[in-house]
Amino acid sequence: MSLETALRLTEIVLACVLLQAALEHLVSRQRSEAFLFLPRFPLCAFLILGVFPNWICLALLLHYLAVLHRFDGPYNGGSDRMALLILVTLTAAHFAPDWRELAFAYLALQLLLSYFMSGWVKLKNLEWQSGRALRDVFQYSAYPVSLSLREYADQPRLMTAASRWVIGFELMFPLVLLHPLLMAAGLSMALAFHLANACLFGLNRFVWTWLAAYPSIIWFQMRLSG
């Protein structure tokens, strides 16, 4: 995958991600919130069409900062941070063409770290290793999308197995850089992981935002292997 193709794919997927989030805000009972997201619609449409992508990325970045001010921080935690990071790297790639490989490589590295660091901090936590932490997530955290899911907390063996699978997957994710087949397997597992998180914990925006960053790591792996 060429750098140009990867950049373009990232722009299109990210524009769809931002549009989806804007649509959700449009039905908010808070009218000021709905109005805040209106500028995203034409901006994302222009980005999908590839019209002045440099200025559109910059405008979307500034708009995102206004959104962060409105909510006094991220509205959706990690997915806001990843979307903002992608916008920053796209804007940097457009306005500093000599540095665009570096900018996009930084995005690929952060994507890799997003899995590896999450696995590393869990590995160091005995409660994650034993499955206790995941039981806590199901038992009393605010994340399960329905009360019936809390019953999973009563299945300690399943929780232990799932915890170890998550830790193992997150720690081994950097192996995707070694071979295209490992890349395909790793990204498929990552997507399945995000889909599970979306269905169990309602983290739907993470699925699409992380998907928008995948072209960067596919390009990066090809770039490393020459």
Partner: protein, 138 residues
Amino acid sequence: MFRSLALLLPALVPSWRFFQTIEASPRIEFAIHRPGECMSWQEFQPPPDRLSPLAALWRLFWSPGRNEALYLVSCAERIVIDDREHAKQEILNRIRASIVPEKLIDVVQYRITLVQRVGDRLEREVVYTSPIYAVRGS
């Protein structure tokens, strides 16, 4: 300018420590007060008892209510950790928007309860109780 930088920095240099530890989990509860009536606290935006696989799949594409609920959990955490006024107002605004007052004199109050595991038991502790506000107000 400094505020913008402070908001941008965590995105530029993220820590990516998802679910590092499972902390006490906040619940937002509210009560409508009417003269002569006992108030009863009810959870704000509680999750449904069950969610069909089809509904869970649909939420991949359309989940404004769930994302708002997660945002309000963040707001509750900001109040518990930093006593942030903005977060207090956000929760109040969304509770107000969700209820239809029966009488103009209705007033509303909310509180934040932390749920955490102590040993093998779950314990709940009220850590913040808001002032009383008019249901309709600015």
